[in-house]
Symmetry: C2
Subunit: 359 residues, 2 copies
């Protein structure tokens, strides 16, 4: 198949968004899109291109003082009657328009049209972000090609509707278990009801007052919530076990270890079993390229509350921000779409930021 990412398309981030959306790339089926992206990057003489699985990396090596990374995933959630793309007035509809082919369109446009950026740039087009972490291209790169992630600052082009979302909160899931002793409910006093015992766990959750932490002007609002509860044996049995799964979203001033210690403190006296944990990422707005980027956007950064791949950069000591033209509220929705104006704004911003070495 001829590469749809022609020069005419690459110079126009709106056309490029549509062209990328029209290459089907549901997670684990990213070969075609990676092939086309790799192909156009290899044709750019100012870039050194490499590939790991279906993750493609391209970088300038201009000897600049600073290096920035621009990253985005090429996969999408499964198609839901929204393929191929469709334009209606100033909107492009289709699977991945917002999350995040409009974002990678900006990166690919910049990579192929800006041979002389102000900072050295590493572009990362990675696979399998929408599924289990073990397949995540950025994760695989961090394991076997960590040098690809080295930079002074990273921008993840996830949908933020043109806002800057800084850092990300960490997340920890744990199961709090209560134990009891079974008995027939007709002789309940012979048993110990584990569901009743879970009442204290829920009381502590209801009484919990989450912190709001301001770092570099960004306010992270923590939260501790029960996300699941289950217990019970039969309609006539005093239950001997109950489990409450809680999710702590924690500000990036806590490490994963500190987050766990906090949860153990909240549920002191109970058995706490961690099921899932991922670190947060500090906003890192003080790095010089970050400050310049904020100036280029001209908007105050806000705290990123959800967890994103920026924390993979943060784990490598690279400050990272989220910034993209898509609307995060539309991600994964059948009517997913992106505003054409936001794509043009995004391209202009990135050119303002990296385009002029004379400024």
């Amino acid at each position: 198949m001829a590469n749809p990412l022609t020069q005419d398309v690459l110079v126009d981030p709106v056309l490029l968004t549509r062209a990328l959306v029209d290459i089907e790339s549901v997670s684990r089926h990213e070969k075609a899109i990676a092939d086309h992206v790799e192909d156009v990057l290899r044709q750019a003489p100012h870039l050194r291109t490499d590939r790991l699985g279906n993750t493609v990396m391209a970088r300038t090596d201009l000897g600049r003082d600073q290096r920035v990374a621009l990253a985005g995933h090429v996969d999408t959630v499964p198609i839901d009657g929204n393929f191929p793309s469709m334009v209606s007035e100033d909107l492009i509809f289709g699977c991945g328009t917002s999350d995040m082919k409009s974002g990678i369109a900006l990166a690919l446009h910049l990579a192929t049209t800006l041979p002389d950026p102000r900072h050295d740039v590493t572009f990362l087009f990675y696979e399998a972000e929408e599924i289990e972490s073990q397949y995540n291209g950025l994760h695989l790169v961090s394991q076997s090609r960590p040098e690809w992630l080295r930079a002074d600052f990273a921008l993840l082009l996830e949908p933020t509707y043109g806002l800057i979302e800084a850092g990300c909160q960490g997340t920890l899931r744990a199961v709090i278990k209560t134990a009891g002793r079974r008995a027939h409910t007709a002789r309940a006093w012979r048993g110990v009801n584990a569901i009743h015992a879970a009442g204290e766990v829920l009381r502590r959750l209801a009484d919990y007052r989450p912190r709001a932490v301001t770092i570099d002007g960004c306010t992270y609002r923590e939260g501790l919530n029960a996300v699941r509860i289950h217990g019970g044996v039969a309609g006539n049995v005093v239950p001997d076990a109950c489990a409450v799964e809680v999710n702590l979203r924690f500000a990036p001033d806590r490490t994963e270890k500190q987050a766990l210690e906090h949860v153990q403190e909240v549920f002191d006296g109970f058995d706490v079993e961690v099921t899932d944990s991922a670190p947060g990422a500090l906003p890192g707005l003080r790095a010089a390229p970050a400050a310049e980027f904020i100036t280029a956007v001209g908007a105050r950064p806000e705290a990123k509350l959800g967890w994103t791949d920026v924390s993979r950069f943060a784990a490598m000591g690279v400050p990272a921000l989220n910034y993209g033209p898509g609307d995060p509220m539309l991600a994964h929705a059948p009517d997913e779409h992106v505003e054409i104006g936001k794509i043009r704004d995004g391209a202009a911003t990135l050119h303002r930021w990296l385009g002029s070495t004379q400024e």
Copy 2:
């Protein structure tokens, strides 16, 4: 197949127990046992025998002042490597030995060997007690042959290990639901956590102080327990629904309606949805045949805390007791067994009670 319930077997309640155990009769497969039981009852000239499905009724009509009912179910729970029966020293092992073929052996032995009882007697051998109430033979009789249940006193030969267990407690199950509003856990303050809201339900359960009610010398200990809890949408979603199923076991001085009002009062402010309800039964120890029976056993009655079919008699205004040779702790267990001595004691007691019109 020849009827294994021969005259030699019918005169010996121990042999009769084994013979009945060796006729497989898991719930909904009671035709064979009902056929054999009906056959021997029809051969007894002092009995009038009738049948409804696989429930067999036989009665004397001697013009006595009082009528007593002796009832037992012929079905068993599924066989669990414990068929056919096996004798080891003074124990008979096998599915249904305790619950309750040793009980119906007493009734069938009495029906076929005592042509001249002190009171008129109605014998009921009924199907499908171990499964959903809609199939229960005694329930079906109460619906379409209520006259079969008319008596001044009823004895249910359920396992009580030779003790008298009087009346039974009622049972009510209800689901208490809490509602909330979904939100991503990273923005939990936008949601309302329904699992946290269930904490108040569990608090009231933990604080609940059940009554102990003494009626006719029998003490009924009530209980209110959570038997199941479930809630949760996904690991990153503030849940919008949680449901706690509770089971109230209530003393027979409360009606079902009063029991429900009590539960509604305990969970005032919450949505209470009844899923299951069955009335209790007053011990009814003042009926003359009951008093005589207690004298014949020579032991103080105790309150029956579990729910049994005695409440079906109670609903017809017939006082009823549980009394049987089996051990209730062994019911439904793979090593279910009955003590041969308890069977002989039970037969002697019933003969003492109903056998002599000269006393």
